[in-house]
């Protein structure tokens, strides 16, 4: 277990400051290389053929004409990928069924969504590749399709898998359906709880699927050599996991694939899994040349995993003085073409901010003809929080209680039982709510057609496996290498933590992201784990380096190592006279490294535990235009318990970015399908994410209740901020118009209809 620094015990020198990040200059000068920016001599362009149908059996694929086209060097279908065993290996809630995963990469028996990859080509130019795709003949037997989650659950819905029997139901159903799984968590006795309630509020909510909206489409460059060794340059949220998944999908040993992390242009969970990498590798293997694949925006929307749509019902029972005595939620999520939406997360997070004795959460995972869901920022939790927090808003309003007071009265504390079993152990929820209540903007008076919405939200955060290597260069500068893909500045945080631990200046530390061939395994940069888990590895490696530096100083001084301390970047020992101190700065020790034993470095790999969850409390003020139904966000304040902000500007940025995504999710974003199950808005014009003129200044309030399990008290920050934001906006709109909104997105036609139900669409 790592040591901790108790706040107040020691003033921090660099942690908590806002220096420029090490990858900053390359990113503002256009020199930073993202996934699409790599090239190799002799490189071919790969392109993917995609299904025009939402659901169809593949009778045959004829690639012969494509292969014969001059300039085409390779063609592939799913036959070029090994079949995978059907089994749910490892974590049930994530996409670790390789039978599904290989079919997600390229279709076998059926295409299950419009845009499903069917074949691919590698050619000497993009133009020849496009022409080759047109020459591939696929014989489809078009089948009826279903997309909407409620329609997919109907008994007569078209089935994606004729043998899908719902798991988690006793006795097992005797007929197949599109419901892949039912899950349930419960504590206490909800019937008794509701019987004892003075008031019960209940509602049903619907959300549409949304996309993470990363501006950089998936891209990679692959090189598969004749001896079976391969290299991949790819932007992802974790090159080690991409290596593991891709090597298995392609049928090669992990050790034969080396993955270099390109800079990544946004992930938010959507780039935790491979899409183009196995295809590029196979095309490279077949052609004998490097192959580059860059997806178009259209392909990203049609084929890359989005967040689930849902239908949810939440029921809450309270006493007349505002104590919640029972809560019940049924959450039904659209998984896409293959099972496992994050409905389990949704069930586990929705009521967890609260201390409620009687709780039940039931979840259904339903497949339908669209791309399989991928993670999106606290996957599942923003969706269930939308339903739970809307209902909490109704409950608070029903007894005329301030919504933040209502949250504070019922907030979970250490010792509170969660619906999924363990008791809460970390502080911070109440403090975060109080910080929001004390924010001066919370008492801003509201005008006509304006409303204020409040919500809170919980996210597990994560720890896990990380590796860090710290090396003292010959001139006393320090290299910090980790395997954590850097999405938004974590290299700066690593450098700050290293500089703090070593007692040296921030600009004497260089933090880099090392490839899979240069460092030990590192888990994905997701789940808000990087600053926590990889930070722990960095600090532990620095401590080992300090021990080594002390030992070298002892050798230089011919002293006992017990008499040498490390302080302010120097080895120190008592001098000859009283009060005298001899020092050897890191630079001087580095200069003597050869005679004292050689290079000075340490590598540490950890499986970090002791994670503290994320918690956010937010309020949003909106103004609704009763003529157009347009909603203007006037102000948004988001308070989040960050433990300790290693780099406050980067932490604020996380909060602001998550809130902006939540606002888009609440007001504008949705997938729109036509009657044939084809996506009608696969572009940024009609899939409307917030633009600069849509948003006010988003105020981020950093609450710091340190996590004692991290050397600087850090808690994961990336995700918890989006969790309450959907409900905060919805509660604001509901209060502004005096009617409860129960569907997202609250686009202008929906708002107008809520204002005047008689109004035509």
């Amino acid at each position: 277990m790592p040591d901790t620094i108790t706040p107040g015990e020691k003033k921090l020198r660099v942690v908590g400051t806002r220096p420029v990040r090490p990858d900053g200059v390359p990113k503002v000068t256009g020199l930073a290389r993202f996934g699409a920016d790599y090239s190799l001599p002799g490189m071919l362009w790969g392109k993917i053929l995609r299904s025009p149908h939402a659901h169809a059996r593949i009778r045959s694929i004829d690639t012969s004409q494509a292969l014969a086209l001059p300039g085409v060097k390779a063609v592939m279908t799913a036959a070029d990928l090994p079949e995978q065993k059907f089994e749910y290996v490892g974590p049930e809630r994530t996409a670790a069924n390789f039978w599904h995963m290989t079919r997600g990469i390229m279709a076998r028996e059926k295409v299950l969504f419009e845009g499903h990859a069917v074949a691919a080509v590698a050619a000497i130019s993009k133009m020849v590749a496009d022409e080759a795709l047109r020459l591939i003949k696929v014989d489809y037997e078009v089948l009826p399709h279903v997309i909407d989650v409620e329609q997919a659950m109907q008994p007569d819905a078209p089935l994606l898998f004729e043998d899908m029997i719902t798991r988690g139901v006793e006795p097992a159903p005797d007929k197949p359906s599109n419901i892949s799984k039912r899950i349930e968590f419960k504590i206490g006795d909800i019937e008794a709880g509701f019987a004892a309630a003075d008031k019960i509020v209940e509602n049903t909510y619907r959300t549409k699927p949304v996309h993470q909206g990363y501006i950089e489409p998936q891209a990679c460059l692959a090189r598969f050599d004749a001896d079976g060794q391969a290299e991949l340059w790819a932007s992802s949220q974790g090159h080690f996991v991409i290596r593991a998944l891709t090597s298995r999908l392609v049928g090669m040993e992990v050790g034969n694939l080396r993955v270099y992390p390109a800079e990544i242009g946004g992930g938010f969970g959507g780039k935790n899994v491979p899409y183009v990498e196995p295809v590029a590798l196979v095309l490279s293997r077949k052609s004998g040349h490097p192959v580059k694949i860059v997806l178009s925006r259209d392909e990203v929307f049609r084929a890359c995993g989005p967040a689930a749509g849902s239908v949810m019902t939440v029921k809450i029972g309270i006493t007349k003085d505002g104590k919640i005595v029972a809560a019940d939620g049924v959450f039904t999520f659209q998984a896409g073409a293959f099972p496992t939406s994050p409905v389990m997360n949704a069930c586990m997070c929705g009521f967890t901010p609260y201390d409620i004795a009687n709780v039940r959460s039931v979840g259904y995972d339903v497949v339908s003809n669209r791309p399989k869901t991928a993670a999106y920022r606290a996957p599942g939790s923003p969706i269930s929080a939308y339903a739970v927090e809307s209902t909490m808003d109704m409950a608070a309003a029903s007894i005329g209680m301030d919504p933040l007071q209502f949250r504070l009265k019922n907030v979970a504390k250490p010792g509170t039982q969660t619906v999924w079993g363990p008791k809460h152990t970390h502080e911070g929820f109440a403090e975060t709510i109080r910080a929001l209540m004390q924010n001066p903007a919370y008492s801003t008076p509201l005008g006509k057609n304006q409303g204020r919405g409040v919500a809170v939200g919980y996210w597990f955060n994560n720890g896990g496996e990380s590796s860090a290597n710290v090396h003292v260069n010959e001139d006393g500068t320090v290299l910090v290498a980790t395997g954590s893909s850097d999405l938004s500045g974590t290299r700066a945080s690593m450098a700050l933590m290293a500089a703090e631990t070593l007692g040296i200046d921030y600009d004497k530390v260089r933090a880099i992201v090392a490839d899979t061939g240069s460092i030990g395994f590192c888990g994905i940069s997701a789940g808000s784990r990087t600053t926590f888990a990889t930070g722990i590895a960095v600090v532990q490696a620095c401590r080992k380096v300090i021990d080594e530096l002390r030992a070298r100083a002892a050798m230089i001084w011919d002293a006992k190592v017990e008499d040498v301390v490390w302080e302010d970047g120097c080895a120190k020992r008592a001098g000859k006279g009283p009060g005298e101190v001899e020092t050897l700065p890191i630079k001087a020790i580095a200069a003597k490294r050869t005679v004292t034993g050689g290079p000075i470095s340490a590598e540490v790999s950890v499986n970090a535990g002791g994670v503290a969850p994320g918690f956010a409390a937010e309020f949003c003020d909106v103004e609704v235009d009763p003529e157009t139904g347009a909603v203007k966000v006037l102000r948004f304040v988001a308070a989040q318990d960050v433990g300790r902000a290693i780099h406050p500007a980067l932490v604020e940025g996380q909060i602001q970015g998550g809130v902006a995504q939540g606002i888009g999710w609440a007001l504008n974003e949705e997938y729109i399908y036509d009657d044939a199950g084809r996506l009608a808005n696969p572009g940024f014009l009609d899939y409307r994410i917030p633009v600069a003129s849509d948003l006010p200044k988003i105020e981020a309030v950093l609450v710091e209740v340190p996590n004692p399990n991290h050397p600087f008290g850090a808690k994961g920050v990336g995700e918890a901020n989006i969790v309450p934001s959907l409900a905060a906006v919805s509660n604001a709109v509901s209060r502004a118009i005096g009617r409860r909104m129960t569907e997202l997105p609250m686009s202008p036609p929906k708002v107008l209809r809520a204002l005047d139900p008689q109004r035509g669409s």
């Binding site: 806002r18 420029v20 990040r21 990858d23 900053g24 200059v25 990113k27 503002v28 000068t29 256009g30 020199l31 930073a32 290389r33 993202f34 699409a36 920016d37 090239s39 993009k126 133009m127 993470q212 909206g213 990363y214 501006i215 950089e216 489409p217 800079e263 990544i264 242009g265 946004g266 992930g267 938010f268 860059v294 178009s296 925006r297 259209d298 999405l487 938004s488 500045g489 500007a649 980067l650 604020e652 940025g653 996380q654 602001q656 970015g657 809130v659 902006a660 995504q661 572009g683 940024f684 014009l685 994410i689 917030p690 633009v691 600069a692 003129s693 948003l695 200044k697 988003i698």
Partner: protein
């Protein structure tokens, strides 16, 4: 059809290239000239990641054909710094942490510079409206606006 020969000026340097008639200026910059600082986010002129200026006019290079560059003066992100000296906008984006993943940053910097050339003292609202054509998914635009305001302030002092 044979490729077209095009002569243009890019970031102040005379440049010649060959391109297909259907290739966009974005394709040419990235694939023919190796200037990968300009990014493709959508290919349909909706996200602004491919922003460049042509004879001083801000455009989406994915909506311009390579052959249209003939005889024109094009500015990309690679030409924004004056040698080793960063443009004030570039410096302020770093100071204010006006970027997270950085993919939209080249386009936003080009667009912001274009704004400040026309309006050296923009209000926050003017900045937001001008940058409405540049999508950012990471930052929520807060720190981008702060950076542009601060850069404008510094540039007015000079």
């Amino acid at each position: 059809m044979a490729k077209q020969h095009v002569a243009a000026t890019i970031n102040g340097d005379a440049v010649e290239f060959l391109c297909e008639t259907h290739q966009t200026l974005l394709d040419v910059l990235r694939d023919e000239l190796g200037l990968t600082g300009t990014k493709e986010g959508c290919g349909t002129g909706d996200c602004g990641a491919c922003s460049v200026t042509i004879d001083g006019r801000l455009v989406c290079s994915c909506l311009v054909l390579g052959v249209e560059a003939k005889g024109k003066s094009i500015q990309t992100i690679e030409g924004m710094a004056a040698g080793a000296e960063l443009h004030p906008l570039q410096r302020k984006f770093l100071e204010h942490a006006g970027l997270q993943c950085g993919i939209c940053t080249p386009g936003i910097l080009i667009a912001a510079r274009s704004l400040l050339e026309r309006n050296p003292d923009p209000t926050e609202e003017e900045i937001r409206l001008w940058l409405a054509g540049n999508l950012c998914r990471c930052t929520g635009y807060n720190k981008i606006v702060d950076a542009v305001l601060d850069a404008a302030r510094e540039m007015r002092r000079k």
